[in-house]
């Protein structure tokens, strides 16, 4: 028994411990991954089964053959000899969950809101960092102060106000308020403070650049990383916003994806479970696909201190 071998044993032991720990962690991570993915997987599997199959045996783990039929029902594209029941089901689903319309409406709302949010937040942040004026710190304090106010506390007044302005069933109350996003401004101000040299502004002035042009052509490109991160989070939160959209949009023609899902959930007749699952699948599909494309970037963004809703 030499000291050397003892040392080796300790080292071996240490390695074994690390190995064991790594394996244990791996197992936990795999379980968590399954918990995250299985519901989504079952959702997709179920949307490929017919309602009858699901009633006979609801615990299905493998893909079925009715995806096409379910899609046809959802698109109201049934053969002429389909039963009246099938036609009723198709008419109900297609008029409530009209996929293209939902994607388009959500895209318009989320897209415009995102553009307005990042542009005007960058602009406000620029105004607060670059210029010195009497109310500067008061304005900044105000923005930080209102950052945490939940949208719910003003919603009763908001709806009645929009009601009186006849802005119900309009995208304006969902898009224009995006100009004022205190949390995004807060983020951008901190970003500019740390990585935007004010000398550049002065240099631009010497070159005769107007203030607004300086902002658009010099500041915005320099703030690109911050803008990109905030744009993604703004887009996701607007795409997913059910609360405000549901208060304002009552006409099926303006329905967005979350509203459509909630309406499908509320059906009290002509329910077809396969199509139900298909609706939910379609509602999460675009955002999940985009997420997996941009995932590395998004995760880096969260780490940067993405705004938690």
């Amino acid at each position: 028994m030499s000291t050397k071998s003892q040392y080796g044993e300790v080292k071996d032991d240490y390695h074994k411990k690390i190995m064991a720990k790594s394996i244990a962690i791996l197992v936990v991570c795999i379980i968590l991954t399954l918990i995250c993915l299985v519901p989504i997987y079952i959702l997709i599997v179920n949307s490929t089964h017919s309602s009858n199959d699901l009633a006979q045996n609801p615990s299905r783990f493998f893909f079925g053959t009715h995806l096409g039929d379910n899609l046809k029902t959802l698109m109201n594209n049934l053969p002429a000899d389909a039963s009246k029941t099938a036609k009723r089901v198709a008419a109900q689903y297609s008029s409530t969950f009209s996929v293209g319309k939902g994607y388009l409406n959500s895209l318009i709302i989320a897209g415009c809101s995102t553009l307005l949010t990042v542009f005007f937040s960058a602009m406000t942040a620029y105004g607060l960092t670059v210029y010195e004026f009497k109310l500067n710190s008061a304005a900044y304090t105000f923005i930080i102060g209102v950052m945490m106010i939940p949208v719910q506390v003003s919603s009763a007044g908001f709806v009645r106000f929009m009601y009186s302005l006849k802005l119900i069933n309009s995208f304006i109350p969902l898009i224009v308020p995006a100009i004022a996003a205190p949390a995004v401004i807060f983020f951008m101000v901190s970003y500019m403070k740390s990585s935007f040299p004010l000398e550049i502004v002065e240099a631009a002035r010497i070159d005769g650049c107007t203030e607004f042009r300086t902002f658009v052509t010099i500041a915005i490109p320099m703030m690109k990383p911050a803008i990109a991160v905030q744009a993604i989070f703004a887009f996701v939160s607007n795409w997913n916003n059910y609360y405000t959209q549901n208060m304002i949009l009552k006409n099926a023609d303006y329905s967005t994806v979350p509203i459509m899902v909630s309406k499908v959930l509320a059906f009290d007749k002509n329910i077809d479970n396969g199509v139900n699952y298909l609706c939910v699948t379609l509602s999460i599909l675009p955002i999940v696909v985009v997420y997996f494309i941009l995932s590395k970037f998004i995760i880096a963004g969260v780490a940067l201190g993405g705004v938690k809703e």
Partner: protein, 344 residues
């Protein structure tokens, strides 16, 4: 060195541009946020249903907070609001605790250089994924999977595996306790990835030399966690706590949509649902704008308290410390000058 142009620029005041740049924000904010908030405040002093135009003073507040007031239903109003507030905190607490524990554990594991974990990036991506899915879709997904009878996936699978009897399905959606647990679980499912990544960036901000020194001193990983990681993570943990609490006060989509049948589930009613339900009951004569307004203002007050905590913590501590130091130095200097000059 200053050129003519430079000195000309220096002499111009740019203050007006500052106002111009921040004007859109303030205009829009006042129009779409401040005025509705004031409007809500006014509504909270007006009556409900057929009395919606009447000025009732603090009646709504006294009904909601103390169960006394003009209507016979005051006790019920108070009971419902108290239940909603209770539900809000129970649901928040029940998802925050498992969420923070799980996230912390994962964050420590993922940042531990000694652990050889393959596919770390993949795990992070998958665990964050639930967070970006529409909450309405998540509610629909879980209602459809966890339905109350044998005709739904989870109950049916549990029956096939022999865990529960066919005649006795678990009431995941309608059951008073089970539905709450489900909402807590779903909230955790939605948020643990996000919290994990935030905590990871916090841990990675801790100087590695601290861990190296601890290693040399022979501290094991548990000791390192409790003596180094946790104390240094405290600010970000408190920040997560407060933002999550404020987020919890807004909890709406999931509790509102997680039900079977025509109406939302009263046992999951949160304050946000309470507000929405009361002002969204149909014609003006049906809706209870007064109660909705009063509940909104109460939530506003609670948020203000929580918000000021974060605000206090978000202050630029370095700047404040430096300011204090500078003042101290100035004082000392003045004192020395009084005493009769500096000793160089």
């Amino acid at each position: 060195m200053a050129s003519a142009a430079q000195s000309r620029i220096k002499s111009i005041s740019y203050a007006k541009y500052g106002y111009m740049f921040i004007a859109p924000f303030f205009l829009v904010y006042c129009f779409f946020q401040i005025w509705p908030l004031i409007y809500t405040f006014i509504l909270s002093f007006k009556g409900n249903q057929a009395n919606n135009a009447e000025w009732v003073g603090f009646d709504n507040y006294s009904q909601i907070l103390f169960g006394t007031g003009s209507s016979q239903g005051a006790a019920g109003v108070h009971e419902e609001f108290a239940r909603a507030l209770g539900n809000t905190f129970v649901l928040w607490f029940g998802n925050f605790i498992p969420q923070i524990l799980l996230s912390l554990l994962l964050a420590v594991w993922f940042t531990d250089a000694k652990v050889k974990l393959p596919g770390k990036g993949f795990f992070k991506i998958v665990m964050y994924m639930p967070n970006i899915i529409t909450a309405a879709s998540v509610a629909a997904l879980y209602v459809n999977l966890f339905g109350d009878s044998k005709y739904y996936f989870v109950n049916s699978t549990l029956m096939k595996l022999g865990f529960i009897a066919e005649s006795d399905p678990i009431q995941f959606v309608a059951g008073p306790t089970a539905s709450k647990v489900m909402v807590m679980f779903i909230q955790t499912w939605l948020w643990f990835g996000n919290t994990m990544i935030m905590l990871m960036s916090g841990i990675m901000g801790i100087s590695p030399s601290l861990f190296e020194a601890a290693d040399i001193d022979g501290a094991n990983s548990t000791q390192q966690f409790f003596k180094i990681t946790l104390p240094l993570l405290q600010p970000i943990m408190v920040y997560t706590l407060v933002t999550s609490m404020i987020g919890g006060l807004q909890m709406f989509d999931l509790p509102y949509l997680y039900h079977n049948g025509a109406n939302f589930s009263k046992q999951l009613e949160t304050v946000a649902v309470y507000i929405y339900y009361n002002f969204n009951k149909g014609t003006v004569d049906q809706a209870s704008y007064g109660f909705a307004g009063a509940a909104s203002i109460i939530i506003f007050a609670i948020t203000a308290v929580l918000g000021s905590i974060t605000f206090y913590m978000n202050r630029d501590k370095d700047a404040i410390a430096k300011k204090k130091q500078r003042k101290k130095a100035e004082k000392q200097m003045k004192a020395k000058m009084k005493q009769g000059g500096l000793s160089i």
